[in-house]
């Protein structure tokens, strides 16, 4: 019965619900910020906000790619593994003497190639995205360990630009935050102002109808998984710079954080509905939680409990509104 009523959306309520739907996650973020800063005013200090933005950047970048994937009704569990493998390969190139910036670019492209593998397994191989990316996650993780022999790759030199990439500031703003914002703007345009975005939504909304409307669904999907891989690798490059090394186990369970950000941002896991702005907010919510709970001195054990509960509450509130 519920399942049927759910689809009940009359024309007029649509407008109102679109508004609350758009503002829902933002409202959640604001409430969270108010709570945290009342409990510990140092949260609002400028340096902390800058730190927060930097901390959020990695998850946000991955989550942007994940947004496209989830909008098509898919999922990408391999993002963390791609991050690790691309980061190891990039570091390897740097150590072997390649120009770091050039290495980062190649690393991102390699991440894109790993994404293409996912995309081909899903479109050509007709595998469920969950299981295809679960398998490639295992494989990429294994390859990372094989490549690094399980050791971190260090000795990345002190190229200034490379260090800036993860740790520096530009006009007073952390560079990773700038990377995040620029990427956001670009992807926002792609998703909401360009045909590619429409196709993404269409595939998630009704794949059969999208095919019949002449959309090259396999091509679009492969491109989207490639995007997800590329962004994971970009996040990996930031991490490599921040950690001044490539860690073989980097990015473990980052897929879950990214998915949580997407869902907190109001995007539906069944595809076709959602917005990338929501994902940005979702990533900020998770970042604020991590940062805020640390500032409040909550033990890491309880932090997990609180994070889980916040996710549930946020999603439940979102449901309520649209019901």
């Amino acid at each position: 019965m519920n399942a049927i009523n759910e689809s009940t959306k009359a024309g007029k309520t649509n407008f109102v619900s679109t508004i609350t739907q758009k503002l829902g996650p933002l409202l959640g973020l604001i409430i969270l910020i108010i709570i945290v800063s009342v409990l510990n005013p140092s949260f609002l200090e400028p340096l902390n906000i800058l730190n927060l933005l930097r901390q959020v950047a990695i998850n946000a970048l991955i989550a942007f790619g994940m947004t496209f994937v989830i909008l098509t009704g898919g999922i990408d569990l391999s993002v963390g593994a791609i991050l690790a493998l691309a980061s190891a390969l990039t570091a390897g190139m740097i150590v072997s003497g390649l120009d770091p910036i050039f290495a980062i670019i190649i690393g991102c492209l390699l991440g894109g190639v790993m994404g293409i593998v996912n995309g081909l397994l899903i479109t050509r191989g007709k595998m469920a995205p969950f299981i295809a990316t679960l398998a490639t996650m295992t494989i990429f993780r294994g390859l990372t360990l094989v490549y690094t022999k399980g050791n971190p790759i260090t000795g990345l030199g002190d190229n200034y630009l490379f260090q800036l990439f993860g740790r520096g500031y530009f006009l007073g703003v952390p560079v990773p935050a700038i990377t995040m914002i620029v990427t956001f703007v670009l992807l926002y345009i792609v998703l909401h102002k360009m045909p590619f975005g429409r196709k993404t939504y269409a595939i998630g909304g009704n794949e059969k109808a999208a095919i019949i409307a002449g959309i090259k669904v396999p091509k679009v999907k492969v491109m989207i998984y490639a995007l997800s891989g590329l962004l994971s690798a970009l996040a990996g490059a930031i991490l490599t710079s921040r950690l001044n090394s490539a860690q073989p186990t980097a990015g473990t369970s980052y897929e879950l954080d990214a998915i949580a950000a997407v869902v907190l941002g109001g995007t539906s896991l069944s595809g076709g509905k959602g917005r990338i702005f929501g994902t940005l907010i979702g990533a900020l919510i998770i970042g604020t939680l991590n940062n805020g709970l640390n500032l409040l001195g909550v033990s890491s054990f309880y932090q997990q409990v609180v994070k889980g509960i916040v996710i549930i509450i946020a999603v439940l509130l979102d449901r309520k509104k649209s019901a």
Partner: protein, 286 residues
């Protein structure tokens, strides 16, 4: 620029009366680090100071965020138990930038200025284990090695130390990673026994895996000597009960205590040793 903008720099504190210590632990899912944390907290309490604890859950990226957050809370000194020596460098450097002294525990930092490192010597410990086996079973005995989480510094160092001796005196017929995990230690050991029935001894990079291996060995009915590393409660009990041969015991609570003491000295402007060794001892059944 590599520095945060002027307007965002926190005001430097000069009131040293109520000292606030920040402790960043690599993980609290492991009794060793729990004991280390407890050691810190106990000493802090004894000295009448205050401590903030954050837990990186074995994630290097989370750890440098954690350190940022500790700095944000205005700690006067940072005790860092790094998840990884290379990865922690940036965090140490950002603390250096603001002038907060850093002491590392159990593992070092590759870069940045560290006032002191308090640690047991893992390489030495690995050597102790190999020496003990060679002494007990004679040279060229067949041994297996259960490795820790790939890439973790403890895995590398303990393995390195073990092989320093074992490659000369023993015959390492099998090595597999069991991720410092007891369940994996059990399953991996079962399978290793199947493949290498003539193993005489096992060196595990930590006690958890050793205890798992013991369960596997017990059900196989074989008599194999197991040496662990860490000296946690379970292992000590097992040694007492005669189930486990020995463990290279660290004293994590002591590491914690020594670190706090060193921190106090740093703040009071006293000179401290760059390397503060925490005693390591081989525990066997008396």
């Amino acid at each position: 620029s590599m520095q945060p903008p002027e307007w965002a720099q926190p005001a430097k504190k000069d009131d040293l009366k109520d000292v606030k210590i920040g402790l960043s632990v690599s993980t609290l899912n492991n009794p060793f680090f729990v004991a280390l944390k407890d050691g810190v907290q106990k000493e802090v309490k004894a000295l009448g100071m205050e401590v903030k604890v954050v837990d990186a859950q074995n994630d290097s990226a989370k750890q440098i965020n954690d350190v940022d957050d500790l700095i944000q809370q205005g700690v006067d000194i940072l005790l860092i138990n790094p998840t990884d020596s290379a990865a922690i460098s940036t965090a140490v450097q950002s603390a250096n930038n603001i002038g907060i002294p850093v002491i590392t525990l159990d593992r070092s930092a590759d870069k940045g200025k560290v006032a002191a490192l308090v640690a047991s010597d893992n390489i030495k410990g690995g050597e102790m284990a190999a020496d003990y086996i060679a002494k007990k079973l004679g040279e060229k005995a067949q041994v297996a090695e259960l490795e820790g989480v790939p890439g973790a510094s403890a895995t590398r160092e303990r393995g390195q130390g073990f092989h320093n001796i074992a490659d000369k005196k023993l015959k390492v017929v099998a090595k597999q990673s069991a991720d410092f995990d007891r369940t994996k230690g059990l399953n991996v050991m079962e399978n290793l026994l199947q493949a290498n029935p003539d193993i005489k001894a096992v060196f595990a990079h930590n006690d958890e895996m050793a205890l798992g291996a013991i369960e596997a060995i017990n059900s196989s009915g074989k008599d194999i000597m197991v040496i662990g590393f860490d000296g946690n409660d379970d292992a000590l009990k097992a040694i007492k009960a005669g189930k486990m041969e020995a463990t290279v015991a660290q004293q994590p609570d002591l590491i914690g205590k020594l670190a706090v003491d060193a921190g106090r000295d740093v703040i009071q402007g006293k000179k401290v040793e760059k390397n503060i060794p925490a005693p390591l001892k081989l525990v066997i059944k008396e």
